[in-house]
Symmetry: C2
Subunit: 129 residues, 2 copies
Protein backbone atom coordinates (compact mmCIF):
# COMPACT_ATOMS: atom_id res chain seq x y z
CA UNK A 1 0.00 0.00 0.00
CA UNK A 2 1.28 3.50 -0.82
CA UNK A 3 2.15 6.02 1.87
CA UNK A 4 -0.72 8.34 0.97
CA UNK A 5 -3.16 5.45 1.26
CA UNK A 6 -1.86 4.42 4.69
CA UNK A 7 -2.00 8.07 5.76
CA UNK A 8 -5.68 8.18 4.78
CA UNK A 9 -6.36 4.84 6.51
CA UNK A 10 -4.66 6.10 9.67
CA UNK A 11 -6.63 9.35 9.75
CA UNK A 12 -9.82 7.33 9.26
CA UNK A 13 -8.81 5.27 12.32
CA UNK A 14 -8.38 8.43 14.42
CA UNK A 15 -11.77 9.69 13.19
CA UNK A 16 -13.28 6.36 14.27
CA UNK A 17 -11.81 6.87 17.76
CA UNK A 18 -12.95 10.50 17.96
CA UNK A 19 -16.47 9.52 16.87
CA UNK A 20 -16.54 6.76 19.54
CA UNK A 21 -17.38 4.19 16.82
CA UNK A 22 -15.70 1.39 18.77
CA UNK A 23 -17.85 -1.25 17.06
CA UNK A 24 -16.13 -0.32 13.78
CA UNK A 25 -12.58 -0.93 15.08
CA UNK A 26 -12.38 -4.24 13.19
CA UNK A 27 -12.16 -2.21 9.95
CA UNK A 28 -8.90 -0.69 11.20
CA UNK A 29 -7.19 -3.38 13.29
CA UNK A 30 -6.10 -6.94 12.73
CA UNK A 31 -7.60 -9.38 15.22
CA UNK A 32 -5.70 -9.94 17.43
CA UNK A 33 -3.69 -6.72 17.48
CA UNK A 34 -0.41 -6.45 19.37
CA UNK A 35 -0.38 -3.46 21.75
CA UNK A 36 2.88 -2.82 23.61
CA UNK A 37 3.75 -6.54 23.25
CA UNK A 38 0.33 -7.73 24.51
CA UNK A 39 -1.83 -9.68 22.05
CA UNK A 40 -5.35 -8.31 22.36
CA UNK A 41 -8.57 -9.28 20.64
CA UNK A 42 -10.13 -6.26 18.96
CA UNK A 43 -13.00 -6.52 21.47
CA UNK A 44 -10.50 -6.33 24.36
CA UNK A 45 -8.76 -3.35 22.76
CA UNK A 46 -12.16 -1.67 22.28
CA UNK A 47 -12.83 -2.16 26.00
CA UNK A 48 -9.57 -0.38 26.85
CA UNK A 49 -10.58 2.54 24.62
CA UNK A 50 -14.05 2.65 26.22
CA UNK A 51 -12.38 2.78 29.64
CA UNK A 52 -10.21 5.71 28.46
CA UNK A 53 -13.39 7.56 27.44
CA UNK A 54 -15.05 6.73 30.78
CA UNK A 55 -12.03 8.25 32.53
CA UNK A 56 -11.67 11.17 30.08
CA UNK A 57 -15.16 12.04 28.77
CA UNK A 58 -13.86 14.86 26.50
CA UNK A 59 -11.03 12.74 25.05
CA UNK A 60 -10.08 13.83 21.52
CA UNK A 61 -7.15 12.56 19.41
CA UNK A 62 -5.45 15.49 17.66
CA UNK A 63 -2.64 14.37 15.31
CA UNK A 64 0.12 16.99 15.63
CA UNK A 65 2.65 15.10 13.51
CA UNK A 66 2.05 12.06 11.29
CA UNK A 67 4.90 10.19 9.56
CA UNK A 68 4.35 7.36 7.10
CA UNK A 69 7.26 5.21 5.96
CA UNK A 70 6.46 1.97 4.13
CA UNK A 71 4.05 -0.01 6.29
CA UNK A 72 4.73 2.05 9.40
CA UNK A 73 3.09 5.13 10.85
CA UNK A 74 4.37 7.31 13.70
CA UNK A 75 2.18 9.94 15.31
CA UNK A 76 2.52 12.58 17.98
CA UNK A 77 -1.02 12.89 19.34
CA UNK A 78 -2.09 15.88 21.43
CA UNK A 79 -4.86 15.55 24.00
CA UNK A 80 -6.44 18.70 25.47
CA UNK A 81 -8.93 17.22 27.88
CA UNK A 82 -10.31 16.94 31.41
CA UNK A 83 -9.64 13.50 32.99
CA UNK A 84 -12.10 12.56 35.72
CA UNK A 85 -9.80 9.84 37.11
CA UNK A 86 -7.40 8.56 34.43
CA UNK A 87 -5.56 5.35 35.39
CA UNK A 88 -6.02 5.87 39.12
CA UNK A 89 -4.91 9.53 39.08
CA UNK A 90 -7.01 12.26 40.71
CA UNK A 91 -9.51 14.19 38.57
CA UNK A 92 -8.34 17.34 36.78
CA UNK A 93 -9.62 20.67 38.12
CA UNK A 94 -9.34 22.16 34.64
CA UNK A 95 -8.32 21.13 31.14
CA UNK A 96 -4.84 19.63 30.85
CA UNK A 97 -2.71 18.96 27.77
CA UNK A 98 -0.51 15.95 27.14
CA UNK A 99 0.91 13.89 24.29
CA UNK A 100 1.21 10.30 23.16
CA UNK A 101 4.06 9.20 20.87
CA UNK A 102 2.89 6.09 19.06
CA UNK A 103 4.11 3.80 16.29
CA UNK A 104 1.96 1.47 14.18
CA UNK A 105 2.73 -1.36 11.80
CA UNK A 106 0.16 -1.89 9.05
CA UNK A 107 -0.44 -5.24 7.39
CA UNK A 108 -2.96 -5.65 4.55
CA UNK A 109 -4.40 -2.21 5.26
CA UNK A 110 -5.00 -2.82 8.96
CA UNK A 111 -2.99 -2.05 12.10
CA UNK A 112 -1.13 -5.17 13.23
CA UNK A 113 1.06 -3.69 15.97
CA UNK A 114 0.99 -0.61 18.18
CA UNK A 115 3.85 0.73 20.32
CA UNK A 116 2.48 3.53 22.51
CA UNK A 117 4.06 5.86 25.03
CA UNK A 118 1.98 8.41 26.96
CA UNK A 119 3.50 11.35 28.84
CA UNK A 120 2.26 10.17 32.25
CA UNK A 121 4.76 12.43 34.09
CA UNK A 122 3.34 15.42 32.21
CA UNK A 123 -0.18 14.42 33.26
CA UNK A 124 0.85 13.97 36.91
CA UNK A 125 2.65 17.34 36.99
CA UNK A 126 -0.47 19.16 35.73
CA UNK A 127 -2.83 17.32 38.09
CA UNK A 128 -0.59 18.22 41.05
CA UNK A 129 -0.83 21.97 40.35
CA UNK B 1 16.91 16.13 0.97
CA UNK B 2 15.76 12.61 0.09
CA UNK B 3 14.48 10.19 2.71
CA UNK B 4 17.46 7.85 2.30
CA UNK B 5 19.84 10.76 2.85
CA UNK B 6 18.07 11.88 6.04
CA UNK B 7 18.03 8.27 7.22
CA UNK B 8 21.82 8.13 6.79
CA UNK B 9 22.25 11.51 8.49
CA UNK B 10 20.10 10.34 11.41
CA UNK B 11 22.03 7.10 11.87
CA UNK B 12 25.27 9.12 11.80
CA UNK B 13 23.82 11.26 14.61
CA UNK B 14 23.07 8.16 16.72
CA UNK B 15 26.61 6.87 16.04
CA UNK B 16 27.95 10.24 17.23
CA UNK B 17 26.00 9.83 20.49
CA UNK B 18 27.08 6.21 20.94
CA UNK B 19 30.73 7.16 20.35
CA UNK B 20 30.40 10.00 22.92
CA UNK B 21 31.64 12.49 20.28
CA UNK B 22 29.70 15.34 21.89
CA UNK B 23 32.07 17.95 20.44
CA UNK B 24 30.86 16.91 16.97
CA UNK B 25 27.16 17.55 17.72
CA UNK B 26 27.24 20.79 15.74
CA UNK B 27 27.49 18.69 12.56
CA UNK B 28 24.07 17.19 13.35
CA UNK B 29 22.08 19.93 15.10
CA UNK B 30 21.08 23.49 14.28
CA UNK B 31 22.21 26.00 16.90
CA UNK B 32 20.03 26.61 18.80
CA UNK B 33 18.01 23.40 18.64
CA UNK B 34 14.48 23.16 20.04
CA UNK B 35 14.11 20.24 22.48
CA UNK B 36 10.60 19.66 23.87
CA UNK B 37 9.81 23.35 23.26
CA UNK B 38 13.01 24.59 24.98
CA UNK B 39 15.50 26.49 22.81
CA UNK B 40 18.95 25.12 23.66
CA UNK B 41 22.38 26.05 22.41
CA UNK B 42 24.17 22.99 21.05
CA UNK B 43 26.64 23.32 23.95
CA UNK B 44 23.75 23.19 26.45
CA UNK B 45 22.25 20.17 24.69
CA UNK B 46 25.69 18.48 24.77
CA UNK B 47 25.80 19.09 28.53
CA UNK B 48 22.44 17.31 28.93
CA UNK B 49 23.77 14.33 26.96
CA UNK B 50 26.96 14.28 29.05
CA UNK B 51 24.81 14.24 32.20
CA UNK B 52 22.85 11.27 30.80
CA UNK B 53 26.14 9.39 30.30
CA UNK B 54 27.28 10.34 33.82
CA UNK B 55 24.04 8.86 35.15
CA UNK B 56 24.06 5.87 32.75
CA UNK B 57 27.68 4.97 31.99
CA UNK B 58 26.72 2.08 29.64
CA UNK B 59 24.13 4.15 27.74
CA UNK B 60 23.71 2.96 24.14
CA UNK B 61 21.13 4.16 21.59
CA UNK B 62 19.69 1.19 19.70
CA UNK B 63 17.25 2.24 16.92
CA UNK B 64 14.47 -0.37 16.91
CA UNK B 65 12.29 1.46 14.41
CA UNK B 66 13.20 4.43 12.21
CA UNK B 67 10.66 6.23 10.04
CA UNK B 68 11.56 8.99 7.60
CA UNK B 69 8.85 11.11 5.99
CA UNK B 70 9.92 14.29 4.20
CA UNK B 71 11.99 16.35 6.63
CA UNK B 72 10.85 14.37 9.67
CA UNK B 73 12.26 11.33 11.44
CA UNK B 74 10.57 9.23 14.12
CA UNK B 75 12.50 6.65 16.10
CA UNK B 76 11.75 4.09 18.79
CA UNK B 77 15.06 3.84 20.64
CA UNK B 78 15.81 0.90 22.94
CA UNK B 79 18.19 1.30 25.88
CA UNK B 80 19.53 -1.80 27.65
CA UNK B 81 21.63 -0.26 30.37
CA UNK B 82 22.49 0.13 34.04
CA UNK B 83 21.59 3.59 35.41
CA UNK B 84 23.63 4.63 38.44
CA UNK B 85 21.16 7.37 39.40
CA UNK B 86 19.18 8.59 36.38
CA UNK B 87 17.25 11.82 36.96
CA UNK B 88 17.17 11.38 40.72
CA UNK B 89 16.05 7.74 40.65
CA UNK B 90 17.88 5.05 42.63
CA UNK B 91 20.67 3.07 40.94
CA UNK B 92 19.76 -0.13 39.08
CA UNK B 93 20.82 -3.42 40.68
CA UNK B 94 21.04 -5.01 37.24
CA UNK B 95 20.57 -4.08 33.62
CA UNK B 96 17.17 -2.59 32.77
CA UNK B 97 15.50 -2.02 29.40
CA UNK B 98 13.43 0.98 28.37
CA UNK B 99 12.44 2.97 25.30
CA UNK B 100 12.31 6.52 24.03
CA UNK B 101 9.84 7.54 21.31
CA UNK B 102 11.26 10.60 19.60
CA UNK B 103 10.46 12.81 16.62
CA UNK B 104 12.90 15.09 14.78
CA UNK B 105 12.48 17.86 12.25
CA UNK B 106 15.43 18.32 9.89
CA UNK B 107 16.28 21.61 8.23
CA UNK B 108 19.19 21.94 5.79
CA UNK B 109 20.49 18.51 6.79
CA UNK B 110 20.54 19.25 10.52
CA UNK B 111 18.11 18.57 13.35
CA UNK B 112 16.10 21.71 14.10
CA UNK B 113 13.51 20.30 16.54
CA UNK B 114 13.27 17.28 18.82
CA UNK B 115 10.15 15.99 20.56
CA UNK B 116 11.16 13.27 23.00
CA UNK B 117 9.23 11.00 25.34
CA UNK B 118 11.01 8.51 27.61
CA UNK B 119 9.22 5.63 29.33
CA UNK B 120 9.94 6.88 32.86
CA UNK B 121 7.20 4.68 34.37
CA UNK B 122 8.88 1.64 32.81
CA UNK B 123 12.21 2.68 34.34
CA UNK B 124 10.64 3.22 37.79
CA UNK B 125 8.86 -0.15 37.68
CA UNK B 126 12.11 -1.99 36.93
CA UNK B 127 14.12 -0.08 39.57
CA UNK B 128 11.47 -0.92 42.20
CA UNK B 129 11.81 -4.69 41.64
Amino acid sequence: MHGSSIDARYRAYLACLNDRRFDDLGEHLLDPVVHNDRHLRVAEFADLLRRDVDEIPDLHYDAELVLVDGDHVACRIRFDCTPTGFRGLPPAKEKISFVEHVFYEYRAGRIARIWSLIDMDGIRAQLAR
